[in-house]
């Protein structure tokens, strides 16, 4: 445990060295929120009627969704993780980790945890400001069981984001140059996790499918739970399905690692 603690603290310090860079990024990040609010306002005004709704979502719901999605994305997104793993495999840097008494996947997980820690230290300043400005759009009184389900869904989202990135990264054992492929995958992941638009707006038939995919836990489900749009009796089955995906990826990663390490050519030495 102590060795992973060492990784965590050094990585956190490394990130804090570029805190100005981090703060600029943290501020720009919210600009798309402005366009979303403007667009949804225009959409709902054009719909007419007294309380127009889209698939059960009111204007306030959609604004709250767009803002809250920053939380679940902040937990589940692993920027640069697949690329780092691919480079480690391609350039032979993996050697460093194999000869040490640590698990490479374990190392990656702790490394990303450190990133998250720094991210949330800064988010603790910026997020409350945004949520305060939008306080009138949070219309739902959140129930205790919804808080619990939200936290669990966030944790599931974190693990799915992490394990999916790890899975894709390990493909580098077989394919050496996959940077474009990574871009395609991460863009599709971004869309299907509900970052751009809530998945239930896709229409009932499409939602049947995209709501079951692992990506939906990275952004959509935690937020939908917090908006009170998930019935109580559905909470457990949704969370269990997500946990199922986590175990699925754990198995896949172990198989990939088992097969991949035998192909690994350890270039560089």
């Amino acid at each position: 445990m102590k060795k992973y603690w060492a990784i965590l603290t050094t990585r956190t310090q490394e990130d804090m060295a570029y805190r100005a860079n981090y703060f600029i990024g943290a501020l720009f990040r919210f600009l798309p929120l402005v366009t979303s609010i403007v667009l949804w306002y225009a959409v709902f005004k054009s719909m007419g009627g007294t309380h127009p709704k889209i698939e059960g979502m009111s204007y306030q719901n959609l604004i709250a969704y767009t803002a809250l999605v920053y939380i679940s994305r902040g937990v589940s997104s692993m920027p640069g993780m697949t690329r780092d793993i691919c480079n480690d495999i391609k350039d032979g840097n993996l050697n460093r980790y194999i000869v040490r008494p640590i698990n490479y996947s374990g190392y990656q997980i702790v490394y990303r945890l450190a990133h998250k820690l720094v991210f949330w230290l800064i988010a603790a300043v910026t997020f409350p400001v945004i949520f305060f400005l939008l306080r009138h759009d949070f219309t739902h009184q959140i129930q205790p069981e919804e808080w619990v389900a939200f936290i669990i869904a966030l944790i599931i989202g974190f693990w799915i984001g992490m394990l999916f990135s790890l899975t894709i990264g390990l493909l580098a054992f077989w394919f050496l140059e996959i940077s474009t492929f990574l871009y395609v995958i991460s863009t599709i992941e971004y869309f299907l996790s509900g970052n751009l638009i809530p998945l239930n707006l896709f229409g009932p038939k499409m939602f049947e499918i995209v709501g079951k995919l692992p990506f939906s836990y990275e952004a959509f489900w935690p937020v939908l739970i917090l908006l009170g749009k998930v019935a109580q009796h559905q909470l457990v089955s949704i969370l269990l399905w997500g946990i199922g995906w986590v175990f699925f990826f754990l198995i896949v990663i172990n198989i990939l690692w088992f097969l991949g390490i035998r192909r690994y050519s350890a270039v560089g030495g």
């Binding site: 720009f28 798309p32 225009a42 889209i54 698939e55 140059e177 395609v184």
Partner: protein, 268 residues
């Protein structure tokens, strides 16, 4: 006469640099094809995004589905032409300024701003611009709209203005490196800016609209050309559109000269 001769000289030099990049790109054909597809992906997702919204609503503040496709296509075309010709050069320029590697451009008997701005062409982006153009044609066809040739010319000129606006912003950000030493983070703003320009201008209200129209004229970029086809562009709006792109370009040359005074060479 001398000016025209000069102009042809610049076009010829641009042609050589263009061909040079094409040859390099074609050495990796498969990679080029994959990048071509990948670059269109974001556009397809944006179209999907709006198609989902339009499943629930007939129009957004007077903008129908095909109006929106027209805007998306126009914006994509402008973005991709800008990215294809200038974006990579702007990023390379920051490195060259920081490392003092600008001498190669400054010592040549040509306009240095021209050389640093268009040296490298990204063909995947240029090809992708065609996708945007196809969207524009399809949208116009679906709207049963046949533009007059004068509208076409106006549309083309306003698109050129849009590209110049993007160019000036990004080029100016690069030039800030002369003073700041490092300004890479500002390039992220490009993606944020282009988010603003791909939505209809009339959904922005109040102060935000003022800023996006006059201070950071992102609404001029794609909305003005589209308004030509929608016949909603006023005479004043059109003149403003022309002037703003031109003014921005003049500004960029001014910044370039100011910045060069701070340049420290390290490569000679």
């Amino acid at each position: 006469m001398v000016q025209i001769k000069q102009l042809f000289r610049y076009i010829r030099v641009f042609g050589y640099m263009f061909l040079n990049c094409l040859v390099r790109e074609m050495q990796f054909k498969i990679n080029f094809m994959i990048r071509l597809l990948a670059e269109s992906l974001w556009l397809f997702l944006m179209v999907a995004y709006f198609l989902i919204i339009y499943k629930h609503v007939h129009d957004i503040d007077g903008w129908t589905k095909w109006d929106m496709i027209l805007l998306l296509g126009t914006n994509h075309f402008i973005n991709q032409i800008f990215e294809g010709i200038f974006f990579e050069n702007c990023i390379k320029l920051t490195d060259n300024i920081r490392q003092g590697d600008l001498d190669f451009a400054l010592t040549k008997p040509m306009n240095s701003q021209f050389l640093v701005s268009v040296r490298y062409t990204d063909f995947a982006s240029i090809m992708n611009a065609v996708v945007g153009l196809i969207m524009v044609v399809v949208a116009l066809h679906k709207m049963h709209y046949v533009p007059t040739w004068s509208q076409d010319v106006m549309y083309a000129i306003l698109i050129l203005n849009g590209i110049l606006i993007y160019y000036t912003f990004m080029f100016s950000f690069s030039i800030l490196t002369f003073w700041m030493g490092r300004a890479n983070n500002l390039f992220d703003l490009y993606y944020q800016f282009s988010t603003f320009s791909r939505y209809p201008a009339n959904i922005y209200k109040g102060a935000l609209r003022f800023i996006l129209w006059y201070l950071i004229p992102m609404l001029v970029v794609a909305n003005c050309p589209v308004d030509v086809f929608k016949r909603t562009l006023s005479g004043v709006g059109m003149i403003y559109g022309f002037i703003v792109g031109f003014l921005f370009f003049i500004m960029s040359t001014f910044f370039w000269k100011k910045g060069l005074a701070h340049y420290r060479s390290a490569s000679s």
